[in-house]
Symmetry: C3
Amino acid sequence: MKVTLEAVARAIDGTVVGDGSVEITGVAGIREAREGDLTFLANPRYEPYLELTQASAVIVSENHRNIGKPLIQNPNPYLAFLKAVRFFAGDAERPCSGIHPTAVIAPDAVVAEDASIGPHAVIEPGAKIGSRSIVQAGCYVGARARLGDEVLLYPNVTIREACVLGDRVIVHSGTVVGSDGFGFVRDGDVYRKLPQVGIVEIGDDVEIGANVTIDRATTGTTRIGAGSKIDNLVQIAHNVQIGKSCIIVAQVGISGSTVLGDHVVLAGQVGVVGHIEIGDGASVGAQSGVSKSVKPGERMFGYPAMPLRQAKRIEASIRNLPELIQTVRRLKRRLDELEGSKEPR
Amino acid sequence: MKVTLEAVARAIDGTVVGDGSVEITGVAGIREAREGDLTFLANPRYEPYLELTQASAVIVSENHRNIGKPLIQNPNPYLAFLKAVRFFAGDAERPCSGIHPTAVIAPDAVVAEDASIGPHAVIEPGAKIGSRSIVQAGCYVGARARLGDEVLLYPNVTIREACVLGDRVIVHSGTVVGSDGFGFVRDGDVYRKLPQVGIVEIGDDVEIGANVTIDRATTGTTRIGAGSKIDNLVQIAHNVQIGKSCIIVAQVGISGSTVLGDHVVLAGQVGVVGHIEIGDGASVGAQSGVSKSVKPGERMFGYPAMPLRQAKRIEASIRNLPELIQTVRRLKRRLDELEGSKEPR
Amino acid sequence: MKVTLEAVARAIDGTVVGDGSVEITGVAGIREAREGDLTFLANPRYEPYLELTQASAVIVSENHRNIGKPLIQNPNPYLAFLKAVRFFAGDAERPCSGIHPTAVIAPDAVVAEDASIGPHAVIEPGAKIGSRSIVQAGCYVGARARLGDEVLLYPNVTIREACVLGDRVIVHSGTVVGSDGFGFVRDGDVYRKLPQVGIVEIGDDVEIGANVTIDRATTGTTRIGAGSKIDNLVQIAHNVQIGKSCIIVAQVGISGSTVLGDHVVLAGQVGVVGHIEIGDGASVGAQSGVSKSVKPGERMFGYPAMPLRQAKRIEASIRNLPELIQTVRRLKRRLDELEGSKEPR
């Protein structure tokens, strides 16, 4: 799809400032935007990106100064941007509606009248599905599990018994919520299973990617705080506590009983040991291995993870290591010579 | 749930020694236990943990000495502990019972009379499901696959054709047993698929986490030994052989044809190359990359993995590397001066 | 299965040169073959492996010189090898045939007459399934998705709406194609979802392992080039572009918008950051972290990844680091002494 900025502005009730003939091909956040994208500025904190963004045009509030780039002015840039997204997306269909005749719903499950249950979905006894929620094809919702309002489960999701999802939670295909924690007691030469009798509780507005695994607590609750976003193939062990608005990127693994504060960011493939705390606003670079608690706001990197500055300094040192070895060899030779020159004394 | 130690003792046929009014909130192994937990000591090897455990109380055998912590005495501490687990868990429901009318079972599949097959499960021709086994909703059991007695497949598990599961095997949701090995033959510029005609064989008492992948052998058998426990999102490639009572933590990857002995422990996110051997009782630390065979009992760590002591020594050296570079610079300056002071001679 | 080379030769229309009584137990590529295996040589580029292979016998073209190992001569060694594979595999059954009565197929979906749809599969409105394609039990094919001819989806695969699979694509169980990209816009303290309105397009002859996740593009297309092979548990983020005949080994993660050329090889557990390019024919060693673009043909290794030679040199230096520290200490002592001996002057 390729349209003029002018056409987009009409569709989203905005006013063009600058060249309305610029071609727009898509939409993106201000940092991710590329040429052809329309982006937006709603939060003053992101103003510095106005100069840096590669977007072809920006939606700004009406009283915003000109920045030498085509703009669309609108009193609420974020809402205008969402309209633009929908404009580019076209009408997204609702994937199912009503209860499909092949769904198997226990007589005492409580499914809101306006919820949708897809083909071959299974809703076990005592489960509760909130208003306007959508459970797509092949999903399993275990006994006594509770889904809030406007929850969206994509096809083939498994929610095990007694787990709780808040409102507007989105779960992508293949994800398993509430599998048993990895808990065994060694008894001589064999391991005995420790029954996992806790649950998983997921806050409002959480989104969970595809093929994620979130284990139920041994006892008590594994908890994902409101607004946190979890990417694909992430592993969250039993009794982990994740705060609000965290970002957990693909293939991260978090071991048992570890606690994350709010606004923590873990980049891709990070591993975190069990029983530690990662403070509010801390962030950890990709593939790092976190083996100790991390202070609030700290930026960590490396294997094992250390403060980013120290990690970068060490990384630079390592790159120079072969040269350092040469230097030491030369020093040794010079010292040998110096000592030799003294020997005759 | 919060009860007095006295109440737990009554429920599990034990005798309190010490303060029976202590509040107990859960159960855990002696090393993992936290305040409020009840734990147990059955194996004398774990006696040293008696002093260290954070548990609020311990189940011990009747003739055990006092350790200044409330105890419950019982002739069989492990069995008493399992009773305590059930006491805290309440009655766990059996998730399904009998054969659900929506299950699709091939006429010549053999399903034990007392087995349970959940809604929308599929049992292909020639498959065999043992006594008291439970195949939950949406599972797929391929042609000629054989499940032993008391096997438990959680919802949405896939067992491909001809694979074999022993007795009491537990498989969590989303796991795939018997997918094709990653085998291709390069033919000029393209890769030709090498048909994968072997199977997977899983021993008695194995537990496999959620969204695990275990590939069938190219020819022959990919094997998981009795009593081994595999966590979520683990990848086990074609023709891998895993011994008895191994612990494979989440997101580990084991490449083709590698052989693990008995009682091997691989911590989270470890990677192991193909065609090597890891000896009995060896253990590998989290995120390590194992590129060579490992001797029995050896403890390995790092990327690439090396013996733990060496790895720790190198890790410490690396942390001091920026300082070492300063030291060498100072030595060089001193040497320059020394040589300079000699030049006039 | 254990047969004589003579018997295999008869089954695949070849002529034995050398000892026809050798026992053959399986088949494998020339580099992977072990004792007991039959392998083949079709491409002259692999001739050096003739001396090195551990195979017990080799299929070669008719005019090939003797190499002191039993041979089977056949004018087309690769075809003869595939016959041998089938000989060892026995008759592989077709897993389903026709449309199973429990499949749910939208009235306006287009399913080729000779395609097979398994039990409990769901084909949504407007989807298209090509000739001789097989969609096994529990698979989901979303609205307007298009599968080419001879596509094979193993049980419990999810193909989301509007995604496109070429001819002869194979997808293993639990894999999700077209889940939403991980795209959010920060709005003060919360993250707003950026609708993901693009698709995934998969070229001809691609094979995708089990429990893989391939995200749809934010806008536009996430693309996997023809002939590429993807192992289990791989994560491919939104807008990634993968070229032709690439090999992506298990548990690799590729971040958003990164571009791979043709014939790229990423070994197990490699992580690649977003928005970079990896040139044609480049390869990256296991567990490496690629943070910058890689030139065509370059071999990379390490965390962070660097050219293999440099990485190996640094790795060796690191192993000697504790020794280097000792050397520097000794130099310092000798220098102290030298300076001391001068002090009296």
